[in-house]
Symmetry: C4
Subunit: 200 residues, 4 copies
Amino acid sequence: MDRGRLEAFSDGVIAVAITLLALNLAVAGPGHGSLLRQLGEHWPSFVAYVISFFVIGIVWVNHHGLVRNIAVVDRTLLFLNLMLLLFVVLIPFATATMATYLTSGDQDAHIATALYGVVLEGMAISFAAIFWWTLGEGRTHQPVPKEAQRTVWLQFSIGGVVYIVAIGIAFLSAPLALALIGLVALYYMFEQTPQRSRRS
Amino acid sequence: MDRGRLEAFSDGVIAVAITLLALNLAVAGPGHGSLLRQLGEHWPSFVAYVISFFVIGIVWVNHHGLVRNIAVVDRTLLFLNLMLLLFVVLIPFATATMATYLTSGDQDAHIATALYGVVLEGMAISFAAIFWWTLGEGRTHQPVPKEAQRTVWLQFSIGGVVYIVAIGIAFLSAPLALALIGLVALYYMFEQTPQRSRRS
Amino acid sequence: MDRGRLEAFSDGVIAVAITLLALNLAVAGPGHGSLLRQLGEHWPSFVAYVISFFVIGIVWVNHHGLVRNIAVVDRTLLFLNLMLLLFVVLIPFATATMATYLTSGDQDAHIATALYGVVLEGMAISFAAIFWWTLGEGRTHQPVPKEAQRTVWLQFSIGGVVYIVAIGIAFLSAPLALALIGLVALYYMFEQTPQRSRRS
Amino acid sequence: MDRGRLEAFSDGVIAVAITLLALNLAVAGPGHGSLLRQLGEHWPSFVAYVISFFVIGIVWVNHHGLVRNIAVVDRTLLFLNLMLLLFVVLIPFATATMATYLTSGDQDAHIATALYGVVLEGMAISFAAIFWWTLGEGRTHQPVPKEAQRTVWLQFSIGGVVYIVAIGIAFLSAPLALALIGLVALYYMFEQTPQRSRRS
């Protein structure tokens, strides 16, 4: 299997998943109060939409950075890539559930936000597993330099650790956990990623 | 990151978004009055479908025109492109909301149509930001000539200004605002765009 | 604009549209009678799914046949292609509406089936328009030979005429009109198409 | 028609189908019991999601393995490929139906699980038909060696036979049938497939 079709399929799945995020924005329609109030009470959906849109967008950018250097596509990589996509496809579901319950004011808000964190954690671990796979001999066109490896592991750890922290915080304050996850997205948007560090 | 995958991912997102537009056309089914009457009362959905279909179609055409000349894909471009896609993905939601409320005959019709205008304005601003980015030195294969720049800015301004005007008009007459937005789509369909002016 | 991205975008839209066909198969779930009876009463949805799946599948095959010979992509072609896609994206909606009303036993069955025919007619006309466009001088790598032109026009006419006949028949017998449309799909599946005739 | 567009279209359809699997995970929302209980009672949906995700993922991997060696794309192959995609697109529907009824505790659980098996059987038969087509003279770049053919037929038979067995078992125990189908997915994930055996 050549890398091109791995990228094309992953791009397709990520593109569909990112677009399905918007399905959850639909308002109930006439007869459910004024539209302005409906949109206002819907604010967690809009915040969640923006955060998850950039989370999935960053997955796409980083996936590209990880995969472009790959020389051999074997069964293990295909399996790890499917694992990653399995969690990416769960993001619209987890986002919708979290947004629906965020302002419920009871235990469910904690559970829903923790569920969102768990899906992101699964995604982060799958990413790290793919990176670990690329470190095997002869799997990439150019071996990843030791120093770059350290930087990349550090970056993956940040996501992996913060998502776990967010899962914990979700049980104290759901909005705080969501804010933390949003900050990680911002960090990944502006900071170095595998793609860049590999070049340096 | 090479340009090819940026185009492939954007094409994927735009293709899914344009197809999801049709989800809002579904009628309520038997037991909700004759089909003809249901389809008739549904006319705003069909008008909105056609307008939004061409709006997104033009986004795709112009996106291609903007991106094909790009030589370097950096973090800023990826971020601006995600911004653009974020608004494109909102179009089916904004279209459905607008169509649902267009004939409600109260304040909500104004709000829903203004919301539609706001999403299109966000899309137009993201487009202008991508064009602004391409003007940086060495970012395109061939520098965009001064005269072409003026034409393109003028074209972007038309969209950007008319959408703002439409947002204002939406509070006077929702159908008038929609007609104005439809006219902009027609204009972009038949007039020059970045793609062409760059060639001349 | 190069042909490649026109194909990629069209493929994307057609792929999403063909997949959305299955959304209409969902059964109501427990508490709505035995599953077997639900599936049984749902038969129009399954028949409609198979017919529309092959209708869209043939659109994809023939689109490819038409487009692969194209040398120049201009504004007119982009507009005609968007027209074609606009009707393709309507097929899942028209299919679902037709399947829902097919066995309603009243006037709505006729209307819903005629609507399905109208969408297919719009698709056929858009296809013919794209073919007409390719006949312009210098628009294809190799000019389409006169004889091949006649064959292709004949083929397009068959679809275009039969769909109109089906719209008429829909008002006498909805299932008969559907059967006729299914036969056209079978004909296109097994008979010559632009793609082939151009080669000979 | 070149192989590239056949792959691109198939990838698109498979990518959309695999992503639509997650639509069935949505919970009913506030007012339907605690979220934890809703998620708990929803377990068949999550199990079904994981199994079907890997089933479709393997379809993608094996489709690639089958198609990459193909030299000629003719009408028969296009038809067989559409058949395969028709069943792939049915998988999200069959998965959702099966998950909904799995724990219903009555006859419907058997029917729904058997339906799932029937869709997978249709998919397996379509795959075998495509493989049979590739054995025709001159259809592949390199003829498939006799020994490899035997291995591939054996592998296809395993899926084809086990799915039939699962359909039978579904009438005794729905969860057992589902477990069997999950085991086949695991087998295909870790064992040899056409792609590999052709290389050896």
